[in-house]
Protein backbone atom coordinates (compact mmCIF):
# COMPACT_ATOMS: atom_id res chain seq x y z
CA UNK A 1 0.00 0.00 0.00
CA UNK A 2 1.36 3.42 -0.83
CA UNK A 3 2.19 5.98 1.83
CA UNK A 4 -0.56 8.28 0.57
CA UNK A 5 -3.23 5.57 0.71
CA UNK A 6 -2.22 4.52 4.22
CA UNK A 7 -2.34 8.07 5.60
CA UNK A 8 -5.63 8.73 3.84
CA UNK A 9 -7.15 5.51 5.18
CA UNK A 10 -6.09 6.27 8.74
CA UNK A 11 -7.52 9.81 8.52
CA UNK A 12 -10.84 8.46 7.23
CA UNK A 13 -10.95 5.87 10.01
CA UNK A 14 -10.40 8.58 12.64
CA UNK A 15 -13.20 10.68 11.15
CA UNK A 16 -15.46 7.62 11.15
CA UNK A 17 -14.69 7.11 14.84
CA UNK A 18 -15.61 10.74 15.58
CA UNK A 19 -18.99 10.15 13.92
CA UNK A 20 -19.51 6.93 15.90
CA UNK A 21 -18.69 8.71 19.18
CA UNK A 22 -21.15 11.45 18.28
CA UNK A 23 -23.84 8.81 17.68
CA UNK A 24 -23.13 6.99 20.95
CA UNK A 25 -23.11 10.27 22.89
CA UNK A 26 -26.46 11.24 21.42
CA UNK A 27 -27.91 7.89 22.52
CA UNK A 28 -26.33 8.18 25.97
CA UNK A 29 -27.74 11.63 26.59
CA UNK A 30 -29.48 11.94 29.94
CA UNK A 31 -33.19 11.44 29.55
CA UNK A 32 -34.12 9.43 26.51
CA UNK A 33 -33.56 11.24 23.18
CA UNK A 34 -37.28 11.92 22.69
CA UNK A 35 -37.40 13.77 26.02
CA UNK A 36 -34.48 15.91 24.89
CA UNK A 37 -36.23 16.60 21.59
CA UNK A 38 -39.47 17.55 23.35
CA UNK A 39 -37.64 19.65 25.92
CA UNK A 40 -39.55 22.82 26.69
CA UNK A 41 -42.88 21.33 25.65
CA UNK A 42 -45.20 21.48 28.69
CA UNK A 43 -47.16 18.41 29.89
CA UNK A 44 -45.91 15.83 27.44
CA UNK A 45 -48.44 13.02 27.04
CA UNK A 46 -47.62 9.40 26.26
CA UNK A 47 -49.21 9.85 22.85
CA UNK A 48 -46.88 12.80 22.10
CA UNK A 49 -43.89 10.78 23.28
CA UNK A 50 -44.79 7.89 21.02
CA UNK A 51 -45.43 10.22 18.11
CA UNK A 52 -42.01 11.78 18.64
CA UNK A 53 -40.38 8.36 18.86
CA UNK A 54 -42.09 7.34 15.62
CA UNK A 55 -41.33 10.64 13.86
CA UNK A 56 -37.62 10.59 14.77
CA UNK A 57 -37.23 6.89 13.96
CA UNK A 58 -36.44 5.97 17.56
CA UNK A 59 -38.59 2.83 17.31
CA UNK A 60 -36.32 1.40 14.64
CA UNK A 61 -33.48 -0.89 15.69
CA UNK A 62 -30.41 1.09 16.79
CA UNK A 63 -28.24 -0.87 14.39
CA UNK A 64 -28.25 -0.68 11.43
CA UNK A 65 -31.34 1.54 10.89
CA UNK A 66 -30.76 4.43 13.29
CA UNK A 67 -26.99 4.37 12.99
CA UNK A 68 -27.19 4.17 9.20
CA UNK A 69 -29.56 7.14 9.04
CA UNK A 70 -27.25 9.12 11.37
CA UNK A 71 -24.18 8.42 9.24
CA UNK A 72 -25.99 9.28 6.00
CA UNK A 73 -27.25 12.55 7.50
CA UNK A 74 -23.78 13.46 8.84
CA UNK A 75 -22.11 12.76 5.51
CA UNK A 76 -24.69 14.96 3.79
CA UNK A 77 -23.86 17.76 6.23
CA UNK A 78 -27.18 17.49 8.08
CA UNK A 79 -26.25 17.86 11.74
CA UNK A 80 -29.77 18.46 13.01
CA UNK A 81 -31.29 21.54 14.62
CA UNK A 82 -30.02 23.73 17.40
CA UNK A 83 -32.08 23.45 20.59
CA UNK A 84 -31.56 27.10 21.40
CA UNK A 85 -31.50 28.99 18.09
CA UNK A 86 -34.96 27.80 17.09
CA UNK A 87 -35.44 26.94 13.46
CA UNK A 88 -31.73 27.11 12.67
CA UNK A 89 -29.79 24.05 11.66
CA UNK A 90 -26.54 23.25 13.42
CA UNK A 91 -24.84 23.76 10.05
CA UNK A 92 -26.17 27.34 9.83
CA UNK A 93 -25.21 28.15 13.42
CA UNK A 94 -21.67 26.83 12.92
CA UNK A 95 -21.36 28.47 9.51
CA UNK A 96 -21.84 31.91 11.07
CA UNK A 97 -19.11 31.29 13.64
CA UNK A 98 -16.43 29.46 11.72
CA UNK A 99 -14.70 32.38 9.97
CA UNK A 100 -13.76 34.42 13.05
CA UNK A 101 -12.01 31.32 14.40
CA UNK A 102 -10.26 30.55 11.13
CA UNK A 103 -8.97 34.15 10.86
CA UNK A 104 -7.87 34.38 14.50
CA UNK A 105 -6.07 31.03 14.57
CA UNK A 106 -4.83 31.02 11.00
CA UNK A 107 -3.05 34.34 11.56
CA UNK A 108 -1.98 33.34 15.08
CA UNK A 109 -0.41 30.11 13.84
CA UNK A 110 1.45 31.86 11.02
CA UNK A 111 2.91 34.50 13.35
CA UNK A 112 3.76 31.95 16.04
CA UNK A 113 5.38 29.46 13.64
CA UNK A 114 7.54 32.16 12.05
CA UNK A 115 8.56 33.81 15.33
CA UNK A 116 8.74 30.63 17.41
CA UNK A 117 10.86 28.67 14.96
CA UNK A 118 13.21 31.63 14.46
CA UNK A 119 13.61 32.11 18.21
CA UNK A 120 14.10 28.38 18.78
CA UNK A 121 16.66 28.07 15.98
CA UNK A 122 18.71 31.01 17.27
CA UNK A 123 18.52 29.77 20.87
CA UNK A 124 19.63 26.27 19.94
CA UNK A 125 22.36 27.52 17.61
CA UNK A 126 23.84 29.93 20.13
CA UNK A 127 23.16 27.68 23.08
CA UNK A 128 23.93 29.34 26.41
CA UNK A 129 24.10 32.76 24.77
CA UNK A 130 22.10 35.75 25.93
CA UNK A 131 19.24 35.17 23.46
CA UNK A 132 19.08 31.53 24.49
CA UNK A 133 18.96 32.25 28.21
CA UNK A 134 16.38 35.01 28.01
CA UNK A 135 14.42 33.44 25.16
CA UNK A 136 14.30 29.98 26.67
CA UNK A 137 13.18 31.36 30.03
CA UNK A 138 10.38 33.34 28.41
CA UNK A 139 9.41 30.36 26.26
CA UNK A 140 9.18 28.07 29.29
CA UNK A 141 6.95 30.53 31.17
CA UNK A 142 4.72 31.13 28.13
CA UNK A 143 4.52 27.38 27.56
CA UNK A 144 3.34 26.86 31.15
CA UNK A 145 0.75 29.64 31.00
CA UNK A 146 -2.78 28.80 29.87
CA UNK A 147 -3.67 31.05 26.92
CA UNK A 148 -6.56 32.72 28.66
CA UNK A 149 -4.30 33.92 31.45
CA UNK A 150 -2.10 35.63 28.86
CA UNK A 151 -5.34 37.05 27.46
CA UNK A 152 -6.55 38.36 30.81
CA UNK A 153 -3.17 39.97 31.45
CA UNK A 154 -3.21 41.72 28.06
CA UNK A 155 -6.78 42.78 28.70
CA UNK A 156 -5.82 44.29 32.02
CA UNK A 157 -2.86 46.17 30.57
CA UNK A 158 -4.29 47.39 27.29
CA UNK A 159 -8.00 47.51 28.07
CA UNK A 160 -8.79 49.72 31.06
CA UNK A 161 -5.15 50.64 31.70
CA UNK A 162 -4.05 52.16 28.41
CA UNK A 163 -7.32 52.01 26.50
CA UNK A 164 -5.48 51.27 23.26
CA UNK A 165 -7.65 48.46 22.01
CA UNK A 166 -11.27 47.41 22.31
CA UNK A 167 -11.56 44.24 24.35
CA UNK A 168 -14.95 42.86 23.51
CA UNK A 169 -16.24 41.10 20.39
CA UNK A 170 -15.21 41.42 16.76
CA UNK A 171 -16.83 44.73 15.72
CA UNK A 172 -18.12 47.72 17.68
CA UNK A 173 -21.77 47.02 18.50
CA UNK A 174 -24.13 49.26 16.50
CA UNK A 175 -21.29 51.04 14.74
CA UNK A 176 -21.90 52.60 11.30
CA UNK A 177 -19.08 52.46 8.84
CA UNK A 178 -18.41 55.06 6.16
CA UNK A 179 -16.59 52.56 3.95
CA UNK A 180 -15.02 49.12 3.91
CA UNK A 181 -11.67 50.42 5.18
CA UNK A 182 -13.33 51.92 8.23
CA UNK A 183 -14.93 48.56 8.95
CA UNK A 184 -11.65 46.75 8.41
CA UNK A 185 -9.91 49.12 10.81
CA UNK A 186 -12.46 48.42 13.53
CA UNK A 187 -12.07 44.70 12.91
CA UNK A 188 -8.28 44.86 13.14
CA UNK A 189 -8.45 46.89 16.36
CA UNK A 190 -10.65 44.19 17.86
CA UNK A 191 -8.38 41.47 16.49
CA UNK A 192 -5.17 42.91 18.01
CA UNK A 193 -5.40 41.58 21.57
CA UNK A 194 -6.81 38.09 20.89
CA UNK A 195 -4.31 37.61 18.06
CA UNK A 196 -1.40 38.65 20.28
CA UNK A 197 -2.65 36.22 22.94
CA UNK A 198 -2.82 33.30 20.51
CA UNK A 199 0.59 34.08 19.03
CA UNK A 200 2.25 34.44 22.46
CA UNK A 201 0.62 31.22 23.66
CA UNK A 202 2.00 29.26 20.72
CA UNK A 203 5.43 30.85 20.39
CA UNK A 204 6.79 29.34 23.63
CA UNK A 205 5.86 25.84 22.57
CA UNK A 206 7.28 26.12 19.05
CA UNK A 207 10.50 27.76 20.26
CA UNK A 208 11.11 24.96 22.79
CA UNK A 209 10.51 22.23 20.22
CA UNK A 210 12.71 23.92 17.61
CA UNK A 211 15.48 24.58 20.11
CA UNK A 212 15.82 20.96 21.21
CA UNK A 213 15.48 19.82 17.62
CA UNK A 214 18.36 22.07 16.50
CA UNK A 215 20.50 20.90 19.42
CA UNK A 216 19.92 17.25 18.44
CA UNK A 217 20.82 18.06 14.84
CA UNK A 218 24.02 19.90 15.74
CA UNK A 219 25.59 16.75 17.17
CA UNK A 220 24.92 14.80 13.95
CA UNK A 221 27.89 13.66 11.90
CA UNK A 222 26.98 15.64 8.80
CA UNK A 223 27.17 18.90 10.74
CA UNK A 224 30.60 17.92 12.05
CA UNK A 225 31.58 17.07 8.49
CA UNK A 226 30.33 20.43 7.26
CA UNK A 227 32.37 22.15 9.97
CA UNK A 228 35.44 20.12 9.04
CA UNK A 229 34.96 21.20 5.43
CA UNK A 230 35.34 24.75 6.68
CA UNK A 231 31.84 25.96 5.83
CA UNK A 232 30.75 29.19 7.41
CA UNK A 233 28.40 29.02 10.42
CA UNK A 234 25.46 30.70 8.71
CA UNK A 235 25.63 28.28 5.83
CA UNK A 236 25.81 25.21 8.09
CA UNK A 237 22.75 26.47 9.97
CA UNK A 238 20.70 27.28 6.87
CA UNK A 239 21.67 24.42 4.59
CA UNK A 240 22.44 21.55 6.95
CA UNK A 241 20.99 21.99 10.42
CA UNK A 242 17.70 23.85 9.77
CA UNK A 243 16.12 21.58 7.15
CA UNK A 244 16.74 18.49 9.26
CA UNK A 245 15.64 20.13 12.48
CA UNK A 246 12.39 21.24 10.84
CA UNK A 247 11.26 17.66 10.25
CA UNK A 248 10.35 16.60 13.81
CA UNK A 249 8.99 20.11 14.39
CA UNK A 250 6.39 19.68 11.64
CA UNK A 251 5.10 16.51 13.29
CA UNK A 252 5.04 18.03 16.75
CA UNK A 253 3.13 21.09 15.56
CA UNK A 254 0.54 18.82 13.95
CA UNK A 255 0.22 16.55 16.98
CA UNK A 256 -0.24 19.53 19.28
CA UNK A 257 -3.09 20.95 17.19
CA UNK A 258 -5.65 18.89 19.07
CA UNK A 259 -4.39 20.31 22.33
CA UNK A 260 -4.31 23.89 21.04
CA UNK A 261 -8.09 23.73 20.55
CA UNK A 262 -8.53 23.90 24.33
CA UNK A 263 -6.54 27.13 24.42
CA UNK A 264 -8.42 28.46 21.42
CA UNK A 265 -11.79 28.05 23.08
CA UNK A 266 -10.74 29.86 26.25
CA UNK A 267 -9.07 32.76 24.40
CA UNK A 268 -12.27 33.39 22.47
CA UNK A 269 -14.22 33.37 25.73
CA UNK A 270 -11.92 35.98 27.32
CA UNK A 271 -12.37 38.41 24.42
CA UNK A 272 -15.91 37.41 23.48
CA UNK A 273 -14.59 36.66 20.03
CA UNK A 274 -17.62 35.30 18.14
CA UNK A 275 -16.01 32.08 16.93
CA UNK A 276 -16.49 28.35 17.45
CA UNK A 277 -14.98 28.50 20.93
CA UNK A 278 -17.55 30.93 22.34
CA UNK A 279 -20.21 28.97 20.43
CA UNK A 280 -19.10 25.77 22.19
CA UNK A 281 -19.27 27.45 25.58
CA UNK A 282 -22.67 29.02 24.87
CA UNK A 283 -23.95 25.61 23.73
CA UNK A 284 -22.48 24.06 26.86
CA UNK A 285 -24.25 26.54 29.14
CA UNK A 286 -27.57 26.01 27.33
CA UNK A 287 -27.00 22.24 27.06
CA UNK A 288 -27.43 22.62 23.29
CA UNK A 289 -26.02 19.16 22.55
CA UNK A 290 -26.51 19.11 18.75
CA UNK A 291 -24.45 22.30 18.40
CA UNK A 292 -21.82 20.96 20.81
CA UNK A 293 -21.53 17.75 18.80
CA UNK A 294 -21.40 19.77 15.58
CA UNK A 295 -18.49 21.80 16.96
CA UNK A 296 -16.76 18.57 18.00
CA UNK A 297 -17.24 17.15 14.49
CA UNK A 298 -16.00 20.30 12.72
CA UNK A 299 -12.98 20.81 14.99
CA UNK A 300 -12.19 17.09 15.02
CA UNK A 301 -12.29 16.76 11.25
CA UNK A 302 -10.21 19.96 10.84
CA UNK A 303 -7.52 18.66 13.17
CA UNK A 304 -7.48 15.25 11.47
CA UNK A 305 -7.13 16.89 8.05
CA UNK A 306 -4.38 19.21 9.30
CA UNK A 307 -2.54 16.14 10.59
CA UNK A 308 -2.99 14.44 7.25
CA UNK A 309 -1.50 17.46 5.48
CA UNK A 310 1.43 17.48 7.92
CA UNK A 311 2.01 13.76 7.30
CA UNK A 312 2.01 14.31 3.56
CA UNK A 313 4.40 17.27 3.85
CA UNK A 314 6.66 15.10 5.99
CA UNK A 315 6.49 12.38 3.36
CA UNK A 316 7.66 14.84 0.72
CA UNK A 317 10.42 16.30 2.93
CA UNK A 318 11.71 12.97 4.20
CA UNK A 319 11.40 10.09 1.72
CA UNK A 320 12.48 7.61 4.42
CA UNK A 321 9.08 7.67 6.16
CA UNK A 322 7.29 6.63 2.97
CA UNK A 323 8.65 3.10 3.10
Amino acid sequence: MSYLARRLGSALLTIAMIVIINFILFRAMPGSPERVILRGTPNVTTAQLNAARERWGLNDPIFPDQFGAFVVATVRGDLGYSFVARGQTVGQVIGQRIWPTVILFGLGEIIAIAAGLALGAISGWRRGGIIDQVGNGISLVLYSTPYFIIGMALLLIFGPGLGWFPTFGMLEAGARYTDILDRLGDFLAHLALPLTTVALGLIGQYAIVMRSSIIETLSEDYVTTARAMGLRDGRILRRHALPNALLPTVTLIAINLGYIVAGAITVEVVFNWPGLGTLAVEALEARDYPVLQGVFLVLGVSVVLANLVADLIYGVLDPRVRS
Binding site: M17, A28, T266, V269
Partner: protein, 313 residues
Protein backbone atom coordinates in the same frame (compact mmCIF):
# COMPACT_ATOMS: atom_id res chain seq x y z
CA UNK B 1 19.90 0.65 50.63
CA UNK B 2 16.27 1.40 51.24
CA UNK B 3 14.30 2.10 48.09
CA UNK B 4 16.94 0.45 45.98
CA UNK B 5 15.72 -3.00 45.10
CA UNK B 6 18.06 -5.79 44.07
CA UNK B 7 19.51 -5.05 40.67
CA UNK B 8 20.39 -8.60 39.69
CA UNK B 9 17.34 -10.81 39.56
CA UNK B 10 17.06 -14.35 38.35
CA UNK B 11 16.92 -14.09 34.59
CA UNK B 12 18.71 -10.78 34.73
CA UNK B 13 15.60 -8.59 34.90
CA UNK B 14 16.85 -5.25 36.19
CA UNK B 15 14.49 -3.58 38.60
CA UNK B 16 14.11 0.02 39.68
CA UNK B 17 16.97 2.39 39.35
CA UNK B 18 15.57 3.20 42.79
CA UNK B 19 13.08 5.89 43.68
CA UNK B 20 15.65 7.48 46.00
CA UNK B 21 18.43 7.70 43.48
CA UNK B 22 16.02 8.99 40.82
CA UNK B 23 14.97 11.83 43.13
CA UNK B 24 18.59 12.59 44.01
CA UNK B 25 19.45 12.75 40.32
CA UNK B 26 16.63 15.25 39.77
CA UNK B 27 17.72 17.35 42.74
CA UNK B 28 21.27 17.54 41.40
CA UNK B 29 20.04 19.51 38.38
CA UNK B 30 19.24 23.16 39.18
CA UNK B 31 15.93 23.15 37.28
CA UNK B 32 14.93 19.92 39.04
CA UNK B 33 15.71 21.42 42.43
CA UNK B 34 13.67 24.56 41.73
CA UNK B 35 10.76 22.45 40.49
CA UNK B 36 10.79 20.19 43.53
CA UNK B 37 10.90 23.17 45.92
CA UNK B 38 7.89 24.81 44.22
CA UNK B 39 5.93 21.56 44.19
CA UNK B 40 6.71 20.86 47.85
CA UNK B 41 5.41 24.30 48.75
CA UNK B 42 2.12 23.75 46.92
CA UNK B 43 1.82 20.20 48.25
CA UNK B 44 2.00 21.59 51.80
CA UNK B 45 -0.74 24.14 50.99
CA UNK B 46 -2.86 21.40 49.45
CA UNK B 47 -2.43 18.98 52.36
CA UNK B 48 -3.48 21.40 55.09
CA UNK B 49 -4.97 24.65 53.78
CA UNK B 50 -6.87 25.14 57.07
CA UNK B 51 -3.58 25.29 58.93
CA UNK B 52 -2.49 28.35 56.96
CA UNK B 53 -5.68 30.31 56.35
CA UNK B 54 -8.48 28.66 58.32
CA UNK B 55 -11.59 27.10 56.80
CA UNK B 56 -12.73 28.01 53.29
CA UNK B 57 -14.66 31.28 53.33
CA UNK B 58 -18.09 31.37 51.75
CA UNK B 59 -20.34 34.25 50.80
CA UNK B 60 -21.94 33.78 54.25
CA UNK B 61 -18.83 33.62 56.42
CA UNK B 62 -16.71 36.18 54.53
CA UNK B 63 -16.48 39.58 56.22
CA UNK B 64 -14.07 41.53 54.07
CA UNK B 65 -14.81 44.61 51.98
CA UNK B 66 -16.32 44.03 48.53
CA UNK B 67 -13.82 43.61 45.66
CA UNK B 68 -11.10 45.50 47.48
CA UNK B 69 -7.48 45.83 46.34
CA UNK B 70 -4.83 44.62 48.80
CA UNK B 71 -5.22 46.46 52.11
CA UNK B 72 -4.17 45.80 55.67
CA UNK B 73 -5.61 42.49 56.84
CA UNK B 74 -6.26 41.41 53.25
CA UNK B 75 -2.81 41.38 51.62
CA UNK B 76 -4.19 39.91 48.38
CA UNK B 77 -7.47 41.81 48.36
CA UNK B 78 -10.99 40.40 48.29
CA UNK B 79 -13.44 39.18 45.65
CA UNK B 80 -16.95 40.39 44.84
CA UNK B 81 -18.38 38.13 47.58
CA UNK B 82 -16.12 39.73 50.24
CA UNK B 83 -13.96 36.62 50.45
CA UNK B 84 -10.25 36.91 51.23
CA UNK B 85 -8.22 36.09 48.12
CA UNK B 86 -5.47 34.43 50.19
CA UNK B 87 -8.05 32.10 51.68
CA UNK B 88 -9.48 31.25 48.25
CA UNK B 89 -6.11 30.78 46.59
CA UNK B 90 -4.73 28.47 49.29
CA UNK B 91 -7.89 26.37 49.31
CA UNK B 92 -7.79 26.39 45.51
CA UNK B 93 -4.41 24.66 45.78
CA UNK B 94 -6.08 21.68 47.44
CA UNK B 95 -8.83 21.38 44.81
CA UNK B 96 -6.54 21.87 41.81
CA UNK B 97 -3.77 19.60 43.08
CA UNK B 98 -6.10 16.80 44.23
CA UNK B 99 -8.02 16.77 40.95
CA UNK B 100 -4.69 16.83 39.09
CA UNK B 101 -3.31 13.97 41.19
CA UNK B 102 -6.36 11.71 40.86
CA UNK B 103 -6.69 12.39 37.12
CA UNK B 104 -2.98 11.59 36.73
CA UNK B 105 -3.43 8.26 38.52
CA UNK B 106 -6.27 7.25 36.18
CA UNK B 107 -4.44 8.51 33.09
CA UNK B 108 -1.20 6.72 33.88
CA UNK B 109 -2.98 3.53 34.94
CA UNK B 110 -5.00 3.29 31.73
CA UNK B 111 -2.03 4.34 29.60
CA UNK B 112 0.37 1.85 31.22
CA UNK B 113 -2.05 -1.08 30.98
CA UNK B 114 -2.93 -0.34 27.35
CA UNK B 115 0.73 0.23 26.46
CA UNK B 116 2.09 -2.92 28.12
CA UNK B 117 -0.71 -5.21 26.91
CA UNK B 118 -0.61 -3.76 23.40
CA UNK B 119 3.16 -4.00 23.08
CA UNK B 120 3.39 -7.45 24.62
CA UNK B 121 0.42 -9.09 22.92
CA UNK B 122 1.10 -7.69 19.46
CA UNK B 123 -0.99 -8.81 16.50
CA UNK B 124 -4.65 -7.88 16.20
CA UNK B 125 -5.10 -6.75 19.81
CA UNK B 126 -2.16 -4.39 19.36
CA UNK B 127 -3.62 -3.07 16.12
CA UNK B 128 -7.01 -2.51 17.72
CA UNK B 129 -5.67 -0.79 20.85
CA UNK B 130 -3.33 1.43 18.85
CA UNK B 131 -6.18 2.54 16.56
CA UNK B 132 -8.06 3.76 19.63
CA UNK B 133 -4.88 5.31 21.04
CA UNK B 134 -4.18 7.19 17.82
CA UNK B 135 -7.76 8.39 17.76
CA UNK B 136 -7.41 9.99 21.20
CA UNK B 137 -3.98 11.30 20.27
CA UNK B 138 -5.26 13.19 17.25
CA UNK B 139 -8.74 14.46 18.08
CA UNK B 140 -9.28 17.61 20.16
CA UNK B 141 -9.97 15.73 23.40
CA UNK B 142 -10.88 18.96 25.18
CA UNK B 143 -14.03 19.34 23.08
CA UNK B 144 -14.88 15.71 23.81
CA UNK B 145 -14.42 16.51 27.50
CA UNK B 146 -16.80 19.48 27.10
CA UNK B 147 -19.52 17.13 25.82
CA UNK B 148 -18.76 14.21 28.16
CA UNK B 149 -18.73 16.21 31.38
CA UNK B 150 -22.37 17.44 31.38
CA UNK B 151 -23.64 14.09 30.05
CA UNK B 152 -21.80 12.11 32.74
CA UNK B 153 -22.93 14.57 35.41
CA UNK B 154 -26.55 14.14 34.46
CA UNK B 155 -26.11 10.37 34.33
CA UNK B 156 -24.62 10.07 37.83
CA UNK B 157 -26.97 12.77 39.14
CA UNK B 158 -24.40 14.95 40.88
CA UNK B 159 -26.57 16.44 43.66
CA UNK B 160 -24.55 17.05 46.80
CA UNK B 161 -22.98 13.62 47.12
CA UNK B 162 -19.31 13.45 47.94
CA UNK B 163 -16.60 10.84 47.39
CA UNK B 164 -13.69 11.14 49.87
CA UNK B 165 -14.76 14.73 50.52
CA UNK B 166 -14.73 15.57 46.79
CA UNK B 167 -17.99 16.72 45.31
CA UNK B 168 -19.48 14.54 42.59
CA UNK B 169 -19.15 17.33 39.99
CA UNK B 170 -15.38 17.25 40.48
CA UNK B 171 -15.22 13.44 40.51
CA UNK B 172 -16.76 13.56 37.05
CA UNK B 173 -14.06 16.04 35.96
CA UNK B 174 -11.38 13.64 37.25
CA UNK B 175 -12.85 10.72 35.31
CA UNK B 176 -13.29 12.77 32.13
CA UNK B 177 -9.67 14.01 32.23
CA UNK B 178 -8.53 10.44 32.89
CA UNK B 179 -10.34 8.84 29.98
CA UNK B 180 -9.44 11.56 27.48
CA UNK B 181 -5.70 11.94 28.11
CA UNK B 182 -4.07 8.49 28.45
CA UNK B 183 -3.07 8.09 24.80
CA UNK B 184 0.46 9.52 24.82
CA UNK B 185 1.33 7.47 27.92
CA UNK B 186 0.13 4.33 26.14
CA UNK B 187 2.28 5.14 23.09
CA UNK B 188 5.43 5.70 25.13
CA UNK B 189 4.99 2.59 27.29
CA UNK B 190 4.17 0.46 24.26
CA UNK B 191 7.34 1.32 22.40
CA UNK B 192 9.44 0.54 25.48
CA UNK B 193 7.57 -2.77 25.91
CA UNK B 194 8.23 -3.68 22.28
CA UNK B 195 11.98 -3.43 22.81
CA UNK B 196 11.88 -5.20 26.19
CA UNK B 197 9.91 -8.08 24.69
CA UNK B 198 12.86 -9.00 22.49
CA UNK B 199 15.31 -9.15 25.37
CA UNK B 200 16.79 -12.43 26.58
CA UNK B 201 15.25 -12.43 30.06
CA UNK B 202 11.75 -12.45 28.59
CA UNK B 203 12.64 -15.42 26.41
CA UNK B 204 14.10 -17.23 29.40
CA UNK B 205 10.97 -16.59 31.44
CA UNK B 206 8.91 -17.97 28.60
CA UNK B 207 11.10 -21.05 28.30
CA UNK B 208 10.63 -21.95 31.95
CA UNK B 209 6.86 -21.73 31.34
CA UNK B 210 5.85 -18.28 32.59
CA UNK B 211 2.47 -17.06 31.28
CA UNK B 212 1.87 -13.73 29.54
CA UNK B 213 0.32 -12.12 32.61
CA UNK B 214 3.24 -13.14 34.80
CA UNK B 215 5.83 -11.83 32.35
CA UNK B 216 4.01 -8.51 31.97
CA UNK B 217 3.70 -8.01 35.73
CA UNK B 218 7.07 -9.33 36.89
CA UNK B 219 9.40 -8.60 33.98
CA UNK B 220 7.98 -5.84 31.80
CA UNK B 221 6.35 -3.60 34.44
CA UNK B 222 9.45 -3.25 36.68
CA UNK B 223 11.43 -2.21 33.63
CA UNK B 224 9.04 0.49 32.50
CA UNK B 225 8.25 1.86 35.97
CA UNK B 226 10.84 4.65 35.68
CA UNK B 227 9.37 5.68 32.38
CA UNK B 228 5.90 5.68 33.94
CA UNK B 229 7.08 7.94 36.76
CA UNK B 230 8.72 10.38 34.34
CA UNK B 231 5.60 10.41 32.20
CA UNK B 232 3.35 10.93 35.23
CA UNK B 233 5.13 14.21 35.96
CA UNK B 234 4.24 15.54 32.50
CA UNK B 235 0.72 14.11 32.72
CA UNK B 236 0.21 15.88 36.06
CA UNK B 237 0.99 19.26 34.48
CA UNK B 238 -1.43 18.51 31.66
CA UNK B 239 -4.13 17.42 34.10
CA UNK B 240 -3.83 20.66 36.10
CA UNK B 241 -4.08 22.64 32.87
CA UNK B 242 -7.08 20.67 31.59
CA UNK B 243 -8.88 21.10 34.89
CA UNK B 244 -8.18 24.83 34.70
CA UNK B 245 -9.57 25.01 31.16
CA UNK B 246 -12.70 23.02 32.06
CA UNK B 247 -13.39 25.14 35.13
CA UNK B 248 -12.76 28.30 33.17
CA UNK B 249 -15.51 27.50 30.66
CA UNK B 250 -17.96 26.92 33.51
CA UNK B 251 -17.61 23.22 34.35
CA UNK B 252 -16.02 23.75 37.76
CA UNK B 253 -17.75 23.69 41.13
CA UNK B 254 -18.28 27.09 42.77
CA UNK B 255 -18.65 25.36 46.15
CA UNK B 256 -15.18 23.80 45.91
CA UNK B 257 -13.35 26.45 43.89
CA UNK B 258 -10.17 25.41 42.11
CA UNK B 259 -7.80 28.02 40.66
CA UNK B 260 -9.53 27.68 37.32
CA UNK B 261 -12.91 28.22 38.98
CA UNK B 262 -11.62 31.41 40.63
CA UNK B 263 -10.47 32.66 37.24
CA UNK B 264 -13.89 31.87 35.81
CA UNK B 265 -15.54 33.95 38.55
CA UNK B 266 -13.05 36.75 37.90
CA UNK B 267 -13.87 36.73 34.19
CA UNK B 268 -17.61 36.48 34.84
CA UNK B 269 -17.63 39.73 36.84
CA UNK B 270 -15.26 41.34 34.31
CA UNK B 271 -12.34 41.67 36.73
CA UNK B 272 -9.69 42.39 34.05
CA UNK B 273 -11.87 45.14 32.54
CA UNK B 274 -12.46 46.63 36.00
CA UNK B 275 -8.73 46.63 36.65
CA UNK B 276 -9.24 44.20 39.56
CA UNK B 277 -5.91 42.45 38.99
CA UNK B 278 -5.82 41.02 42.51
CA UNK B 279 -8.77 38.78 41.67
CA UNK B 280 -7.00 36.81 38.96
CA UNK B 281 -3.26 37.32 39.45
CA UNK B 282 -2.91 35.06 42.54
CA UNK B 283 -4.63 31.98 41.06
CA UNK B 284 -2.94 32.62 37.68
CA UNK B 285 0.49 32.80 39.29
CA UNK B 286 -0.18 29.53 41.15
CA UNK B 287 -1.20 27.71 37.96
CA UNK B 288 1.82 28.96 36.03
CA UNK B 289 4.21 28.09 38.89
CA UNK B 290 2.83 24.57 39.32
CA UNK B 291 2.85 23.77 35.59
CA UNK B 292 6.31 25.30 35.23
CA UNK B 293 7.58 23.26 38.19
CA UNK B 294 6.27 20.02 36.69
CA UNK B 295 7.84 20.91 33.34
CA UNK B 296 11.21 21.57 35.04
CA UNK B 297 11.12 18.31 37.02
CA UNK B 298 10.02 16.44 33.90
CA UNK B 299 12.92 17.90 31.94
CA UNK B 300 15.41 16.95 34.69
CA UNK B 301 13.97 13.41 34.81
CA UNK B 302 14.19 13.14 31.05
CA UNK B 303 17.85 14.12 31.14
CA UNK B 304 18.43 11.41 33.72
CA UNK B 305 16.51 8.62 31.98
CA UNK B 306 17.31 9.44 28.36
CA UNK B 307 20.96 8.47 27.83
CA UNK B 308 21.02 10.27 24.49
CA UNK B 309 20.36 13.58 26.19
CA UNK B 310 22.55 12.83 29.18
CA UNK B 311 25.78 12.43 27.25
CA UNK B 312 25.19 15.59 25.26
CA UNK B 313 25.07 17.79 28.31
Amino acid sequence: MAGQVALARPGGARRFVGAGSLLRAVLRRPEGLIGVIILTFFALLAIAPELFVGPLQTAVTAKGPRLSPPIEGFPLGTDHLRRDMINLTVHGARVSMVIGLLATVITVLVGAVVGIVSGFAGGRLDGFLMRITDFFLVIPTFVLALILTPILRDLVGSGSREVFGIRMTLVVIVVVIGITSWSSTARIIRSQTLSLKERAFVDRARVIGAGGGHIMRRHILPNVINLIVANAVIVFAGAVLTETFLSFVGLGDPLQPSWGQLLESARAIGAPGLGAWWYFVPPSACIVLVVLAFTLVGSALDDQLNPKRRERR
